[in-house]
């Protein structure tokens, strides 16, 4: 397997307004090897989208602050690029599929023009080649090319997301960031869209950062998994590590526990009790301590380090230092 071509090192992002400071991403690190899919899992508000937008450098201006960290892409720091250089990366080298296809397409432009725009921005080619490529892209995502003269409101949600996908893949990017691409879609077409993304990703040999809160999706499509909580990765590893190893972060246990099982009769869901800590006021120590069934005194006082076993890393006091014996 090749070296990691994309790494995020110790990323810290805050949103600062007059009323409050939201600590969205707090020292996040992750890396991705070429051709692989990394699933970034976490509940709403864990900082997943903030991470994605930091990579694209599309965080809302004025309120967002990237305090620390580096994002390396093919050995180049994206943070150091000028706005002009970054623009050439966006859409061509790194492309993004957004959460809500209903709002991420421009309502007053034909979908064909919107797909064509990416190509015009990055690939110099003749009109004829351009039109041909747009047709190809439409066909690739399963939309009849003659519908490219239509407007977004004439398409269903799933179709719109396909157009967003066509847009993202138009320049065959090296890295595809898919930010909960199926969350806004009907359950019946979620699988369809996801399969298509996975298939096209393989065909184009693109690497993917898949942001999701659905562990089922992760199991189907990802090679690596990183579980995010309150702006940090609390557990990461290969899909095998996460789904089959014995030891897990209590939060991961909770996530798995909250998936209803077909084989076990139960009348209620078993969610993780409590809520994520207020991102404007994060606790000392482990951010999950307040909800953790295995919370120890040390968890309240000191932030745990990662316990690394081969590819599997867990950020929890249960598996580090002297506690290690009792837990296992």
């Amino acid at each position: 397997m090749s070296e990691a071509f994309f790494t995020i090192q110790d990323l810290w992002v805050r949103y600062v307004t007059d009323h409050e400071t939201v600590y969205a991403v707090n020292g996040l690190s992750l890396s991705l090897k070429r051709g692989q899919t990394l699933g970034l899992v976490g509940e709403t508000g864990a900082g997943k989208t903030t991470t994605a937008l930091s990579i694209m450098r599309l965080l809302p201006p004025r309120v967002s602050r990237v305090d620390q960290g580096n994002i390396l892409f093919n050995g180049v720091s994206l943070m150091d690029l000028s706005e002009e250089e970054m623009r050439r990366v966006r859409g061509e080298k790194i492309a993004m599929i957004y959460q809500d296809p209903m709002t991420s397409l421009n309502p007053v432009m034909t979908v064909g023009d919107q797909v064509q725009e990416v190509l015009e921005l990055h690939k110099k080619q003749s009109r004829r080649a351009l039109y041909k490529r747009v047709d190809e892209l439409f066909a690739m995502v399963g939309i009849p090319p003659d519908r490219k003269k239509e407007y977004p409101h004439q398409f269903s949600g799933g179709m719109k997301q396909r157009i967003v996908i066509a847009m993202a893949l138009a320049c065959e990017p090296e890295l595809l960031i898919a930010d909960e691409p199926t969350t806004a879609l009907d359950v019946t077409i979620q699988a369809q869209v996801l399969q298509m993304i996975a298939k096209l990703k393989d065909e184009l040999d693109t690497s993917m950062l898949l942001i999701t809160h659905d562990l089922g999706v992760v199991a189907q499509t990802c090679d690596m998994v990183a579980i995010m909580y309150a702006g940090k990765i609390i557990e990461s590893g290969t899909v095998h590590d996460i789904f089959h190893n014995k030891d897990h972060h209590p939060y991961t246990e909770g996530l798995f526990g909250s998936i209803p099982k077909l084989t076990v009769e139960s009348r209620r869901l078993s969610p993780i009790e409590g809520l994520m800590p207020d991102p404007t006021n994060l606790p000392d120590g482990c951010a999950f301590a307040g909800r953790c069934p295995a919370c120890m005194p040390i968890c309240m006082a000191q932030e745990p380090d990662y316990c690394q076993r081969a590819s599997h890393a867990i950020k929890c006091h249960l598996f580090t230092g002297e506690n290690r014996g009792e837990a296992v």
Binding site: M56, R90, Y98, S104, N106, V108, M109, H122, H153, M167
Partner: protein
């Protein structure tokens, strides 16, 4: 779309009828009589009464209204009490002046208001934004006749750059156009700024940036078109208002446009003239609003879809 336009054209008929009814009623309620106005204060009461009788002014209100409607249907809008000429002669003689002024003003309004509004939104809280919004607020609060008088003082009396009144040359139009357009531009600027601020925060603008589009492409191609709808409505209304004769401005600059004609007709109780101008303007206004709605369809395909269904 054709069906929609046809429907709207038919709908104009009751609107115009309503306008006719209201204005006719108001003119009948005002004191004074045309006979006295036409013959002057020195004329004998008998002559005045005789003329009023001839003009049908002594008939009951309902009879007069019915007669008037009947004449209109036959295309006869009557003759001006003032000069005994068909009323539309005077309207058509004066309309070009008003139209020129309106076209020039709306063009300047668009050229100033929209770009500044866009820039103010894109550079929100910048110096440019502060200056343009504050001055827009100031100008919108200033009465236009005051601005016109200040212009005459400064540019005609002191600097002698532009003639203070009349319509002889292009120079005559500069100050009226300026005074009218800064006032309208101020409101267009504020509206564009507001709608742009909304549209640049939309997801599709982020999508466009995510494609690698330049800031200029993002703003002019993606954000502005979406921000334009309310601005177009407001511009349509402004244009309609301008055609209705910028009554005050025409008066201040001594321009023989529709506005001054209307004022004089009202003063003289020249009922056929007042009626004709009002009908003309109402029809014009309805047509402009229809054009605005058609323009909508070209800006926003979702609205076009609604028109055809």
């Amino acid at each position: 779309m054709h069906k929609y336009v046809l429907k709207r054209l038919i709908l104009m008929v009751p609107i115009i009828l309503g306008v006719i009814f209201i204005v006719f009623t108001i003119t009948s309620l005002t004191p004074g009589d045309p006979g006295r106005m036409m013959l002057g204060m020195t004329a004998s009461q008998e002559a005045v009464d005789k003329l009023n009788e001839e003009l049908g002014f002594n008939d009951p209100y309902v009879v007069r209204f019915a007669k008037y409607l009947g004449n209109i249907v036959r295309g006869d809008f009557g003759k001006s009490y003032k000069n005994n000429q068909p009323v539309f002669d005077e309207i058509f003689a004066r309309f070009p002046t008003t139209l020129k002024l309106a076209l020039a003003s709306i063009t300047v309004t668009i050229l100033i208001g929209i770009p500044l509004g866009v820039l103010a939104a894109v550079r929100q809280y910048s110096k440019l934004d502060m200056i343009s919004t504050v001055s827009a607020l100031f100008i919108a609060a200033v009465p236009s006749f005051w601005l016109a008088l200040v212009c005459i003082l400064a540019f005609s009396l002191h600097l002698g750059w532009f003639p203070p009144n009349g319509i002889g040359s292009i120079a005559h139009y500069v100050m009226p156009t300026f005074t009218l357009s800064v006032v309208y531009a101020a409101s267009i600027l504020r509206m564009t700024r507001t709608t742009m601020l909304e549209s640049i925060r939309q997801d599709y603008v982020r999508t466009a940036r995510g494609k690698g589009a330049t800031p200029a492409q993002v703003i002019w191609r993606h954000a502005l078109k979406n921000a334009l709808l309310p601005v177009v409505t407001s511009m349509g209304m402004s244009f309609g208002g301008l055609l209705g004769g910028a009554v005050v401005i025409e008066q201040v600059f001594g321009m023989p446009g529709l506005g001054t004609l209307l004022i004089n007709a009202i003063k003289m109780k020249d009922i056929p003239q007042v009626m004709a101008i009002t009908i003309f303007l109402a029809t014009l206004f309805c047509t402009i609003m229809l054009l605005v709605d058609i323009l909508y369809a070209f800006i926003d395909p979702r609205i076009k879809a609604r028109y055809t269904s």
